[in-house]
């Protein structure tokens, strides 16, 4: 399978996630990672922390 096939599969599966918060969180993580693929050890903690705060569901 070439890369775009694998990409398609990933996109399809993520799209199926019903929980909006989870889906959007994962979407944003992947978007971030795609943008940093050319770097060996990118800084990620700040970004991830921000995203977690943003998409964590509210306490019941």
């Amino acid at each position: 399978m070439n890369k775009s096939d694998v990409n398609s599969l990933i996109l399809e599966h993520v799209d199926k996630i019903e929980n909006d918060n989870k889906r959007q969180f994962i979407n944003e993580i992947l978007t971030f990672e795609r943008s940093k693929m050319d770097r060996e050890q990118p800084h990620f903690k700040d970004e991830y922390d921000e995203l977690i705060e943003k998409y964590m569901s509210d306490p019941e």
Binding site: M1, N2, K3, D5, V6, N7, L9, I10, H13, V14, I17, K22, F25, I26, I29, L30, E33, R34, K36, M37, F44, K45, Y48, D49, I52, Y55, M56, S57, P59
Partner: protein, 656 residues
């Protein structure tokens, strides 16, 4: 889909290759194979090295000194270097033309060697790329970007490889290598990165969370400890399982040897042993089932049978009551009723006038009714209960008989198995298979397997206990932690991160499963294409990356493949990977047939032309591999043939 090929490789003063030597490798029509033949030391492997040097700046297949290099040897040809004075430099290069039918890409890498006072020192230049656009050649600013789309570093070793190293691939511990390879070609780096980073966040949040005061902290520490303990147990279990798998494959190997033994009596005993083992399993199963059935019956029957005396007694009481109750049970009831209506008792008392008597009779009627009820029910029911008990008991007895029968047969089978083992151990016939020692080995290995299985049982128990403890601790810890407001949020974060991780993991597994499936399909095809035997094999690639090779009798041969068969398996795996990777690059194999003895070698050679028909394959072979026979069989598929002539430490590439 395009099929790229190496149109030519030009070596200029590269190691043994003096001057400029262009190797034309273009394939056409049905001929998709190139052969470059050279003795060991003539620089054969350096052709492979020249490609990786050009593309990736490294030589990955450096052999011994004769082949022109430990890394310390200068890159530029030594003859050329003789002409140099101190501090003078000489250059060389490797140039590769790639394209479908015509050159479309020209990759070039220069290198320089300078003569110093103490010897020589080499440096490697940058990769350069020219690309053909319509009829013009344009230099490319970012050659690595292009190379990455043609044959990136990550997957190149599945296209350009050393056949001699291949035989090691399916040795002990191969599932890990298989897994790594599949991960390499799967393009799921994105998911791996995400998972990696999420895990790190998990650890960090967890660490912050464990900065609790007091109880929560203590619990967290305990929890972490237990988790670590469990990890160790799991590792131990994996180790044991791997050892058992290895031991079992050794036994399969021994069984195969014994079975193939030229002595008919030995073969017969092996067959008999196989039959007996199967029968043993069957009997054990039957006994287990019978025991289960029996237990059910017993549970039903026991209350009855233990209380038979009580039951009988009660039944008797009811029966008596019915009898001594002066009147037959059924009659008593309506008789009293009539008396009441008539107003006269049989004793003559006038019931109407005597209110007491009347009351007395009414009470009697009541009492009798109740007793009658109980009587009737009890009287009918108890016998039924006792009968049930009896039936259960009969079935129990029957089962016990069956169990005993089977147990006896089982004991006999055991005895016979032991006898066979002993007989084989004492075997004294001179033959090519040392039966006696094989049998001893076999027994030893079986004992080891039993020991290890038992240990796994113990470890499993330990893991179960630990998991229970961990779950409890986890709940306790989270409860404790949640109590503190400021940490509630951290716990939520943790949950969230872990859920997201799981989700991504699932996606990864789904994709990997698909890739494994595709790889398996391809492996099957290629293995059967290449293998010189007439039967059809089925190659399976399991979830845990184990490989099974099934012959037509359904037996798994993975533990007993010959060196040649392992080579073929490895070759088919490599090719499967190239197909899966999505890159359509040509393939270069150094010493593809090195480990294979002459008979299978001829047969593989016969099948080589059908192997990867649509890909350009270049073989670098020794004269021992490229025998006249092999040459004859490949003749119709070879596009270009070269011989490396090595004289006075210089190699010349001669077209045949």
């Amino acid at each position: 889909m395009t099929n790229l090929q190496f149109l030519s490789i030009t070596l200029n003063d590269y190691r043994q290759y003096k001057g400029e030597q262009k190797i034309d490798l273009q394939i056409r029509n049905d001929r998709h194979i190139n052969v470059i033949e050279g003795q060991n030391g003539a620089g054969k492997s350096n052709i492979l090295n020249s490609i990786t040097l050009c593309f990736y700046g490294t030589e990955e297949h450096l052999k011994d000194e004769k082949e022109g290099g430990l890394e310390t040897f200068p890159l530029v040809n030594r003859d050329r270097l003789e002409e140099l004075d101190e501090d003078e430099t000489a250059k060389g290069y490797v140039e590769i033309e790639l394209g479908e039918n015509e050159p479309e890409y020209v990759f070039k890498r220069e290198f320089t060697t300078v003569k110093t006072s103490s010897g020589f020192s080499s440096t490697i230049g940058d990769l350069r790329l020219q690309r053909r656009v319509n009829r013009d050649w344009k230099p490319v600013d970012n050659p690595h970007t292009y190379l990455n789309e043609i044959l990136p570093t990550r997957v190149h070793e599945y296209f350009l490889f050393d056949g001699e190293r291949l035989h090691e691939f399916f040795e002990e511990g191969y599932p890990e290598r298989v897994q790594t390879a599949i991960l390499d070609v799967s393009h799921i780096e994105l998911l791996n990165r995400s998972l990696d980073h999420l895990e790190k966040m998990d650890t960090e949040i967890g660490r912050k969370a464990s900065n609790f005061e007091g109880e929560a902290k203590r619990l967290k520490n305990q929890l972490d400890e237990k988790k670590q303990e469990r990890e160790q147990k799991k590792e131990r279990k994996q180790e044991l399982e791997a050892n058992i798998a290895e031991a079992e494959s050794k036994i399969t190997g021994i069984d195969n040897k014994l079975r193939d033994s030229s002595d008919a009596a030995v073969r017969e005993k092996q067959e008999r042993r196989k039959y007996l083992n199967d029968r043993l399993d069957q009997l054990e199963d039957e006994i287990d089932n019978l025991k289960e059935e029996t237990t059910e019956e017993m549970v039903q029957a026991a209350p009855i049978i233990y209380n038979l005396k009580a039951l009988e007694y009660t039944h008797e009481q009811f029966a008596e009551l019915a009898q001594t109750g002066q009147l037959p049970p059924k009659i008593q009831d309506w008789f009293v009723q009539e008396l009441l209506e008539k107003g006269e008792c049989i004793c003559g008392a006038n019931l109407d006038s005597d209110e007491k008597k009347r009351q007395h009779l009414a009470e009697l009627e009541q009492e009798m009714s109740l007793v009658m009820q109980e009587n009737l029910e009890g009287k009918a029911e108890i016998p039924r209960i006792i009968d049930d008990g009896q039936d259960s008991l009969r079935r129990i007895i029957e089962n016990r008989r069956k169990i005993s029968e089977r147990q006896t047969e089982l004991d006999n089978v055991d005895v016979e198995l032991r006898d066979i083992s002993n007989e084989l151990k004492n075997y004294d016939l001179p033959e090519d298979v040392d039966v006696s020692s094989l049998e001893s080995q076999r027994s030893e290995i079986e004992d080891r397997i039993t020991e290890m299985s038992q240990e796994i049982g113990r470890v499993d128990q330990q893991i179960e206990t630990l998991t229970e403890k961990i779950d409890d601790l986890d709940e306790e810890w989270r409860d404790e932690a949640a109590k503190e407001d400021k940490h509630r949020r951290l716990m939520k974060k943790l949950d969230f991160v872990e859920e997201a991780s799981e989700e991504i993991s699932e996606i990864k597994q789904t994709i990997l499963a698909q890739i494994r499936e595709n790889t398996e399909e391809n492996m099957n095809q290629y293995f059967n294409d290449l293998i010189w035997k007439d039967e059809d094999y089925t190659v399976e690639l399991g979830e845990n990356y184990t490989v099974s090779v099934y012959g037509k009798h359904g037996d798994n041969k993975i533990g007993s493949l010959s060196a040649g068969e392992k080579q073929v398996l490895a070759l088919s795996f490599m090719s499967a990977l190239t197909k899966i990777s999505g890159f359509n690059a040509p393939i270069v194999i150094d010493t593809p047939l090195g480990r294979i003895s002459s008979k299978p070698k001829k047969r593989i050679a016969q099948n080589l032309p059908t192997y990867l028909k649509d890909t350009q394959i270049t073989f670098l072979m020794t004269d021992e591999e490229y025998t006249d026979d092999v040459r004859a069989r490949l003749q119709n598929s070879v596009a270009n043939e070269y011989q490396l002539e090595y004289l006075n430490e210089v190699t010349e590439v001669k077209k045949v």
